[in-house]
């Protein structure tokens, strides 16, 4: 799968490329507005990561151009601007998602994963891993054809794990994913522990293999 990273900050682009390359993603970087425009005119991408503030232009213009050309590339805006206006404007023009800097790369991976799933499987978006079947649209999970009831947070966690297969997810990363901005304000590391424990228990009770492994004492990893 091809991903275009339109980002002027070299180090940031480098990290994203490094992290994403471990998946089967093929990454290209465009550090300027002009370069980005050249690339989108010539090639098609599965996903474009778009920074709004570029040295020689506004990223939203690129998005407008993409929509004008009727290109089907999925677009995730990654911006240092947390302004609500930009967010709404970006999503209105046709971005698929919006991520505010600084973000965890695991968060980005999960978003790209969901976006890809949504675009590839429009009508039935079902993830299967051996005995485990997850319906992303209906938000249901079943093990060996027996459905199990997960809370909203547990389902969210499960998808996050699936989107970050074989990656180490630390407690603080999971806390940030679950609570967003409030993560540091509430001492919620036990809260993460409780949710993961419940999810693991529900899955194993239903006869699912234990894919969630504990690593380094407090981190987790979905193996599969």
């Amino acid at each position: 799968m091809k991903i275009l990273i339109i980002e002027d900050e070299k180090e940031l682009a480098k990290s994203i490329v490094e992290y994403l390359s471990e998946e089967s993603y093929l990454c290209e970087v465009a550090p300027t507005f002009t370069e980005a425009m050249n690339k989108i005119e010539t090639f098609n991408y599965d996903c474009i990561l778009l920074d709004i503030t570029l040295p020689d232009g506004n990223g939203l213009k690129i998005l407008e151009e993409l929509k004008k050309e009727n290109k089907q590339d999925g677009v995730i805006i990654i911006s240092a601007k947390n302004s609500l206006d930009d967010k709404i404007k970006g999503l209105q023009i046709g971005a698929d998602d919006y991520l505010t800097k600084p973000f965890h790369l695991s968060e980005l991976t999960a978003r790209i994963y969901s976006l890809m799933r949504r675009r590839q499987f429009n009508n039935s978006n079902i993830i299967t891993q051996d005995e485990l079947v997850i319906d992303l649209l209906a938000k249901t999970v079943s093990v060996n054809c027996e459905s199990i009831a997960l809370t909203k947070k547990e389902f969210d966690l499960l998808i996050y794990f699936i989107g970050n297969k074989n990656r180490v997810l630390s407690k603080s990363i999971l806390a940030e994913h679950l609570s967003g901005d409030f993560a540091d304000m509430l001492d919620n590391h036990d809260f993460v522990y409780a949710h993961v424990k419940n999810l693991k228990k529900k899955l194993s009770d239903a006869g699912c293999e234990q894919y969630i492994k504990t690593v380094y004492g407090t981190g987790y990893k979905w193996e599969g």
Binding site: N82, S106, M185, L186, F191
Partner: protein, 427 residues
């Protein structure tokens, strides 16, 4: 407190009354002196006339003595007496006596002259007396006139004052009104009224300079915060991503993992502080629309719902008394932050097993949480002044609450009653 013109009017009135009071005896003495001087002159003229008239008769001494006797009878106020020796000196005097021409008993004042006249070359002494106005009457008339003019003066002062305060002080009043409505965070300078009064023009120029300077300083400070926060976003993002990559390395030891995790926590905190500073700068810049109609009750219910797990986690009892259909005008994103910050604050600072009460009515929104002792309300809403010992917060939560409230012109209050911290937002 009195205004400036009233104060000066009072002083002027006191001064004028003193001057007028002093003028009454002065006028009296002056008038009386002129009066007597004129009468003395008049009496001398009369004496001269009498002397001339008798001498022009050219009559014998016997006949003269008879004439004088007769004259003395018909002129009771004057007297001519033969005298061997002339008087050494004329005498001028004032006496009070019954007016001989009047039948009623009236004591009048008279100015008298006793002088020498020569009739047929013989010395005679002549006494002439002329009626003078009484002292008391003169004083009374002068006092009446003075009081009359004093009243005219005071009324004049008063009327002039009123007109002056409207006209002359108008630029000053204008400046004052404009200063009263001045707000530093609006960053708009004041256009003072043009004036041809040197003092006011100087005042306006000085104020203008001062305001420009304050605005510039304020703007610089805000721009600095905003730019600094903005510039920090990128390095923070790079750091965060590098830690993410570090976490995925295969040869990471458990010790290194924990170091990376600590870095993650610190990064989360710094990026949150950064975001909050940016948010504060944006609110101060009024970069938010405040004309939305917000369903406050829905937002509050949503917020409580979203944080329900955290209440459970800390074993806190929540009770909410939210009136339905509370609509306020403002910015919904900011209002959401306001509610969340207040509730999260309550969750953080309530001991496990405590209670939190959320209330919403037409007058305002309030949160009560159980606590031990009252907090210093001066420090509570101040930036970076953490009252609690835990170091998780950004120290900006309540400052943001206050800033959002002042953006909406709402009021925040804090009280401690019956073992409860009470935070109120009054619409």
């Amino acid at each position: 407190m009195k205004n400036l013109l009233q104060k000066s009017l009072r002083q002027l009135t006191i001064f004028a009354s003193i001057v007028f009071a002093l003028s009454i005896p002065s006028y009296f003495f002056l008038v009386d002196w002129i009066w007597l001087k004129e009468l003395d002159e008049n009496n001398y003229l009369i004496a001269q006339r009498i002397e001339n008239e008798f001498n022009e008769q050219n009559i014998s001494d016997e006949k003269l003595a008879e004439s004088i006797k007769f004259w003395n009878e018909i002129q009771p106020v004057s007297k001519i007496k033969y005298s061997l020796q002339p008087l050494l000196k004329d005498s001028l005097y004032t006496i009070k006596r019954q007016n001989v021409y009047s039948k009623k008993e009236i004591i009048d004042r008279f100015r008298g002259l006793k002088t020498n006249i020569k009739i047929n070359n013989k010395n005679h002494v002549l006494i002439v007396e002329t009626n003078v106005e009484e002292t008391e009457e003169t004083v009374a008339y002068i006092a009446m006139a003075t009081v009359f003019f004093f009243l005219i003066l005071v009324i004049g002062f008063w009327v002039l004052n009123k007109r002056l305060s409207k006209k002359i002080w108008q630029p000053f009043q204008d400046t004052l009104q404009k200063l009263k409505s001045f707000q530093l965070n609006s960053q708009k300078s004041i256009d003072f009224l043009e004036t041809d009064t040197i003092e006011f023009a100087e005042l306006n120029a000085t104020l203008d300079k001062l305001l420009q300077h304050s605005i510039a300083t304020y703007r610089n400070q805000k721009e600095f915060t905003e730019n600094a926060s903005h510039e920090l976003q990128t390095p923070l993002a790079i750091l965060k991503n590098k830690v993410d990559i570090l976490l995925q390395s295969d040869d990471l030891t458990e010790k290194q993992y924990h170091i990376a995790e600590e870095m993650n926590k610190a990064l989360l905190r710094s990026s949150r502080t950064n975001k909050n500073l940016l948010l504060l700068a944006k609110i101060e810049n009024s970069q938010f629309d405040s004309s939305e109609l917000i369903n406050f009750d829905t937002l509050a219910a949503q917020s409580i719902d979203g944080l329900l797990e955290h209440f459970k986690e800390k074993n806190l009892t929540v009770s909410s008394d939210i009136q339905p259909g509370i609509e306020v005008k403002g910015n919904s994103a900011l209002t959401e932050i306001l509610i969340n910050n207040l509730i999260i604050n309550a969750i953080r600072y309530t001991s496990p097993g405590g209670t939190i009460k959320v209330g919403l009515s037409k007058s305002g929104f309030e949160i009560r949480n159980s606590g031990d002792e009252t907090l210093n309300p001066d420090l509570l809403f101040k930036r970076f002044s953490r009252i609690a010992t835990d170091d998780n917060g950004s120290g900006l939560g309540l400052s943001i609450v206050q800033e959002i409230c002042s953006f909406h012109s709402w009021k925040t209050t804090y009280n401690f009653e019956n073992g409860e911290h009470i935070f109120k937002v009054l619409f």
